[in-house]
Symmetry: C2
Subunit: 291 residues, 2 copies
């Protein structure tokens, strides 16, 4: 973005380091999930991630989908991308700093896990750096138990929030309450009057005034997720389930699809900027029922 | 809409007759599909439609979902509704004639059929009357074979278009080419560069200057669908299929969901105007795979 006619946002100096971080976090998450896959107790063999690099016409840079269809993880994607391009005329009006210059840089990591067991919550984690004539970090992590009111789900949700709260509090006492509330507001299906899941944190277009500090916070969000979600999966994956629980899981997954296609800003951003639909729609569950 | 301060659109005089027509067409479609269900050749028993009337806070009037989960029709909904309400401030700017007065009347029939057999095309038909300070009819019908290039699908698609063309040509020589092209443009997934199906006709915000003639045309669209789609189902439903064909069908259904939630105007209209989400999302397939 050195060509942009304006004082450069300080985020430009962090681009390479951020891209390297997203790759590093991807590698750690892949290793953690493959290790869980090995530990799974199932007649099926453990599975591995399959990596598919991609580029797209009209975008420089590209990304990599790492996707596993396993015996514990029914479908889990851990995608990274780092692309530069131009927003179209209509879309740039919706993006901070893009009115002046349509060019953008966007890099990030995006993870969605849909589990075989209805007792293991689905999860989402995504962090990103976006640079237009402005720069910001954004992201978050949230948990989707199939029965949020069940005692195990309440415990998992509490552990998840404890981990994210700790990551937030290392940086600013305001972050956790602010970003938790933002998450509750964001992951909500107005047509159902229902939250998508049990929350977490969400932040976007975020620049505290110190880009390096925001990057450190963004790294800690990823590390908190890397710590807590595998613990939740290991604690719940051994429990047996039956047909009724599976059916309920398939129906709950429909809400996930409804949210992602009707309301999710990241999905819209990706599809509208010519991103790879296979990478963007990796978030959609492997099997879904609308009864 | 007698309260609207403007010369009433001539559609107001057709409201009762249109509502009665949508109900009548629903009854005929339900009868035709239950008769096919009886003729199905399967160890499962034939099933029947279940009717669920609904009302919604903030809307006067209501609707009825008629839904069948059968041995031929895996999931088929034939919904009618007739409601009056008010558009919210943001939405009314997108609706013809609603800038001046936010009140609207909308009545229609909406049908989506997802079939057990991957050899039987899915189908959609929807016609409606909408009145703001303006009035119009809209709707259409389109066919979604799972493998549009297969010879049987080419034949089914041809038969479907012949029926719709005949309905159009009874009214205006321009309708079929115009509304066929509109359908191809409308039922398209830009993020995939793919059409949703094999087309049909689509028209919206349509007022020829003669509301009674537009109503007669709208009736003929429904009758053409009532004639041709049951014939296609009967011709294809007996053919055996295997696991690979079923898997392909489940994946193709994902495209249907993507279109309906990302782009469909009717879905958006319903959800944004406080419609019944169960009725609106009846269009979503019973089981879907995103691999």
């Amino acid at each position: 973005m050195a060509e942009v006619n304006a004082p450069e946002p300080p985020h430009v100096a962090l681009k390479d380091e951020a891209v390297a971080w997203f790759r590093d976090l991807q590698a750690r998450l892949v290793a953690a999930f493959e290790s869980i896959e090995n530990a799974g107790d199932s007649p099926l063999p453990p599975r591995r991630f399959v990596r598919t690099p991609w580029t797209r016409p009209g975008l420089s840079g590209g990304g990599e989908i790492a996707l596993m269809h396993g015996r514990v993880f029914e479908k889990v994607g851990v995608n990274v991308s780092a692309v530069s391009g131009s927003f179209d005329a209509e879309f740039r009006r919706q993006i901070p700093g893009a009115e002046e210059d349509s060019r953008f840089f966007a890099a990030g990591i995006s993870l969605v896990a849909h589990m075989q067991s209805p007792h293991v919550p689905a999860a989402h984690m995504n962090t990103r750096l976006v640079i237009t004539t402005k720069g910001w970090f954004g992201g978050g992590a949230d948990l989707t138990p199939m029965r949020p009111e069940a005692p195990e789900s309440v415990a998992d949700t509490a552990a998840f929030h404890v981990a994210l709260r700790a990551a937030c509090e290392r940086h600013d006492a305001d972050y956790y309450p602010r970003f938790k509330e933002w998450c509750d507001r964001y992951f909500f299906l107005p047509h159902r009057g229902e939250p998508r899941g049990a929350g977490g944190i969400f932040y976007d277009h975020f620049f505290s005034g110190n880009a390096a500090a925001d990057f450190a916070f963004t790294r800690d969000v990823g590390l908190a997720f890397l710590d807590v979600y595998p613990r939740i999966v290991r604690a719940r994956m051994g429990r047996a389930w039956g047909k009724a629980e599976r059916e309920h899981q398939l129906i709950r997954r429909g809400r996930y699809v409804e949210f992602n296609l009707l309301y999710d800003r990241g999905t819209m951003f990706g599809l509208r900027t010519g991103g790879n639909p296979d990478a963007i729609l990796m978030s959609l569950p492997p099997l879904v029922r609308w009864p």
